[in-house]
Amino acid sequence: MTVVDETTKTVPICEVGCLIPGRGVAALLPDGSQVAIFRTESDEFYALSNIDPFARAAVLSRGITGDAQGVPFVASPMLKQRFDLRTGSCLDDESVAVRTYPTRIVEGVVHICP
């Protein structure tokens, strides 16, 4: 189950080792929403809403990550729109963005601030 750590207000998700560099995982938050958490090849961690607003499906965690002129992104596996991992804004349609979540690594565990 997913719980909120009342002292830090963060949700512990999984051990760092569960994430392969360059790929994402999905996690369920206590309120029923979902986040897509990514680990890049340079070992940075990012979290976005898992829902692709174009496809209206919870799939972003299953996209391929990469960079466009240095901007780290995930490309939706559905119709390939790219989202900036840092800001959630869509690189292919600037009127669209998804929510982002701060991440924290505490003692080898990835935490999300909901």
Binding site: M1, T2, V11, P12, I13, C14, C18, I20, P21, G22, R23, V25, A26, A27, L28, G32, Q34, I37, T40, E41, S42, S49, I51, P53, F54, A55, R56, A57, A58, V59, R62, G63, I64, T65, G66, D67, A68, Q69, G70, P72, F73, A75, P77, M78, K80, R82, G88, S95, V96, A97, V98, R99
Partner: protein, 842 residues
């Protein structure tokens, strides 16, 4: 609104309607087309290809039925019988009367049949329409059935049309005689030297050529035709095809009192107007200032001139370039300018090589101006030479003729003047192309094609377009994406040569940044092939490779619109036992999967969540199923008809062959998906010619077709080899696939790969049949390794706890259902419901 009546719906009549409708934005003309033939205009120039599949649809010209255009009425199968110029009305054979404001005669021509005694006997045919070919085919079949062997045929006429007819007969399995009155074949286009080489080349292709003679008489002899030639030769034949030129169909015009040319044809001025200002004539029936043109290009020009005038613009026929370049039974023949050195003082420079099989002649003036030429056996320099007619040659004539790559040929497109035509199909000059590149910023062959239409018809000038881009200083980007400046093929070669075995190493050494959704899957595909060639047979989800894969490959299933996946087990050749069918049914029922039969003779199970995939596959693998690779850029299916085993018409075991091929190539990763088909007879029930590779059974073995496609760009596959045995068939497919895997671009299907191959299908045949590049051993070995190292990808996942662990919906709540996935029921099955409101933050 005025009414235009067009008499005749051939290629030129159709072009006229098309040209008018494209420009007549205000719909000022209603168009009525009155046609004699039972079908809309079709590509008569390609008539001979009809034998290759007997599919009349393949000759269709785009939009020739004018569906959806309310302004155009097309009346088929009812020829015009007379023109009443006083009443400005035409009347058809069935009595339909149609008034006109303007009339265009596009009646074409009729085959010329010399008055040989017996020319009208049963068994004598002409060669002009689909119906003519159907009749010839029927006679050939009948003769074969009676004789249980080859039928004997003769073609009267050894010109362009005669040789086309001979090719058609040869494609029907005959070895025809060709009779030409002139002392050589194609007397109009080629000279004595070219004609004699041409004769040698076509004789090797099973034709018997009789020149300098003609048919004296044809007499019936039971079911057969006994033919005597004027040189004394007697031939015992089943059929005779007259293909000795055409005559303009001007009888309607004659009866209506319009002027006709001295040698026939409806006399028109340079604006294509007849002696009646409301009546025009275009195409082969028109005699422009007395001269008829038997090629389609001048006809198209006339059609466009008339369309322009109907819309109040001006147009004048500029004369026509009668240069010809064609491929007859694989033999290049080209002729341009003053091919016969008729100009006073003209000099000839000839380069002939009977061993390599080419003859090239240039005709020049004493001052070095190019006047014309003849090329037989190798016409690769035609595009370069033809535009130079009337100009000083930029190099010694002999150097201009030297074979490519000999070092002597130092003259290229840069030597051409601006007004030289680069694309003769669409009349595009070098100047127009250069302008498109420099002024309009076209930076690729595709952009130049789109902007100028050059290279969009026969494609033979495409290499010149590419050279022109280079000359204009345009760097044609072959870059895969911003991370790699290389094409897929170049990356393949780099990885093969340097043995770089990971994406990380590759991008560090040969790229920039961290990659993207374009280069990662492309490199993953190459890595899969590298593993195969190295004989390592790794799993596509091993280590770093897992991170490179698209979601479909990552989860070995096909993502559908609500984020669930569909599952396709392999059913080789579309064959399945009742027991296995029951297993699929039970799995679908237990997991609540929507079930549908695919176009590739398989069963697709929809609606599986990520965590259900391993559970489903555990059941399928235990029952003996394996991955169908429906998710991969890989071999999908080999579709088959039921074939010899059951079918009354089948001549080979198509299911057995399909199963063998599917099992051989399963799991082969490629630039794009690969589909295949095997048909057990010429009826082609497996639709094999719509596939990347298609196999059609013949009585002697198999025909192999390559480069077919369905979808948005349908394309019939081309015949690569015919009547081969099963072992050779498999060998050629092995090489075809491996060569494609190594050299195609990312997401390039075999159809466009072949179209863009330098040298096209002929080059492909040289590489994989004749081993021109000396790589066949390597290709064969790579396929052997692939077959040896194949392993079921799903079994690989089920046996590896680390890979299995990735099939979880939520990393922090394994087993929790995804609350965004829901279904409703439609026609008794579950279908997805999408999320109501998209989550968008601004």
């Amino acid at each position: 609104m005025r009414t235009l009546v067009v008499v005749g719906h051939g290629m030129v009549g159709h072009r006229l309607v098309e040209a008018l409708r494209a420009e007549d934005i205000e719909n000022s003309w209603r168009v009525v087309v009155l046609a004699e033939e039972p079908r809309p205009a079709y590509d008569r120039v390609a008539l001979t290809s009809y034998v290759d599949g007997w599919d009349a649809q393949a000759l269709t010209l785009s939009n020739s039925d004018y569906l959806g255009d309310e302004q155009v009425e097309l009346r088929l199968n009812d020829p015009v019988a007379r023109i009443d110029r006083e009443a400005r009305t035409v009347t058809t054979a069935s009595g339909f009367a149609q008034p006109y404001d303007a009339l265009v005669l596009a009646t074409g021509s009729r085959p010329f049949v010399p008055p040989v005694p017996g020319h009208d006997l049963p068994g004598c045919f002409v060669y002009r329409t689909i119906e003519d070919l159907d009749a010839i085919r029927e006679a050939v079949e009948k003769a074969k059935a009676v004789k249980r062997g080859r039928a004997a045929a003769m073609v009267i006429g050894g010109g362009l049309l005669g040789l086309e007819a001979a090719k058609a007969l040869r494609d029907m399995g005959l070895s025809p005689h060709v009779v030409e009155m002139a002392p050589r074949l194609m007397p109009i286009q080629v000279d004595e030297g070219g004609g004699s080489l041409l004769r040698n080349l076509v004789t090797e292709l099973d034709l018997t050529v009789h020149t300098g003679t003609s048919a004296e008489k044809i007499e019936p002899d039971g079911d057969r035709l006994l033919t005597k030639l004027t040189n004394g030769t007697e031939l015992d034949l089943d059929l005779v095809v007259f293909s000795a030129g055409v005559r303009p169909r001007d009888e309607l015009a004659r009866e209506a009192g319009l002027d006709v040319g001295q040698r026939g044809g409806i006399l028109v001025d340079l604006s294509c107007r007849t002696s009646d200002p409301d009546i025009y004539a275009v195409g082969e029936c028109a005699a422009v200032e007395g001269r008829c043109y038997g090629l389609v290009a001048p006809g198209y020009t006339m059609a466009e001139i008339v369309a322009a005038q109907l819309l109040g613009k001006k147009g004048t026929f500029p004369g026509a370039d009668m240069s010809t370049k064609l491929k007859l039974m694989g033999v290049d023949v080209a002729s341009f300018g003053d091919a016969h050195a008729a100009t006073e003082g003209a000099l000839e420079v000839v380069l002939a090589d009977a061993v390599s099989g080419y003859y090239k002649k240039l005709v020049v003036s004493p001052g070095g101006t190019l006047l014309g030429g003849v090329l037989v056996g190798d016409a690769s320099s035609y595009n370069l030479l033809r535009p130079l007619v009337g100009r000083p040659l930029p190099a010694e004539p002999a150097a201009m003729l030297a074979p490519e790559g000999s070092g002597a040929a130092g003259v290229g497109v840069e030597a051409l003047p601006d007004e030289a035509q680069i694309c003769s199909c669409n009349a595009v000059t070098k100047g127009a192309i250069t302008e498109a590149i420099v002024m309009q910023g076209c930076d690729s062959v595709a952009a130049v094609k789109g902007c100028t239409k050059a290279g969009t018809t026969c494609g033979s000038c495409v290499p010149m377009l590419s050279k022109l881009l280079d000359l204009c200083g345009v760097q044609q980007s072959k870059a895969l994406c911003e991370h790699f400046a290389y094409s897929r093929q170049e990356l393949f070669e780099i990885m093969k040569a340097t043995r770089v075995a990971s994406f990380g190493e590759l991008i560090a050494k040969h790229g920039t940044g961290s990659g993207c959704a374009i280069c990662k899957p492309a490199v993953a595909s190459i890595l899969a092939t590298m593993d195969t060639i190295a004989g390592e047979g790794g799993h596509i989800l091993d280590g770093e490779q897992a991170t490179l894969q698209d979601t479909n490959d990552h989860f070995l299933a096909n993502m559908q619109k609500n984020g669930t996946y569909s599952v396709v087990p392999r059913l080789p050749g579309g064959e399945i036992t009742p027991e296995k069918l029951i297993v699929i049914g039970e799995v679908a029922k237990d997991f609540g999967l929507y079930t549908k039969i695919t176009g590739g003779q398989r069963i697709d199970l929809f609606g599986a969540t990520v965590d259900q995939l391993p559970l489903i596959w555990r059941r399928l693998v235990d029952a003996g199923f394996e991955s169908g690779h429906a998710y991969g850029k890989a071999l999908r299916t080999v579709k088959s008809c039921v074939g010899l085993t059951w079918c009354r018409y089948g001549v080979q075991d198509s299911v057995g062959m399909a199963v063998e091929l599917e099992l051989r190539y399963r799991g082969l990763r490629s630039p794009h998906k690969i589909k295949a088909g095997v048909s057990g007879c010429a009826r082609e029930c497996a639709e094999a010619r719509g596939k990347d590779f298609g196999v059609i059974a013949t009585e002697k073995g198999w025909n192999l077709y390559v480069g077919g496609n369905g979808g948005t760009m349908p394309r019939h596959a081309d015949l690569l080899v015919s009547d081969v045995d099963s072992e050779s068939l498999v060998r050629y497919i092995d090489r075809f696939l491996m060569f494609y895997v190594r050299t195609a671009d990312r997401l390039q299907r075999t159809s466009s790969w072949i179209e863009e191959l330098d040298g096209g299908l002929d080059h492909l045949r040289e590489v994989i049949v004749e081993d021109k590049l000396g790589i066949c051993d390597e290709l064969d070995e790579a396929m052997v390794k692939h077959v040896e190292n194949y392993a079921d990808e799903w079994r690989g996942v089920l046996e590896d706890p680390e890979k299995l662990a990735r099939f979880t919906s939520f990393v922090n709540a394994p087993g929790a259902p995804d609350p965004t996935i829901s279904f409703r029921v439609e026609r008794e099955q579950r279908v997805p419901v999408l999320l109501g409101v998209p989550e968008v933050v601004s």
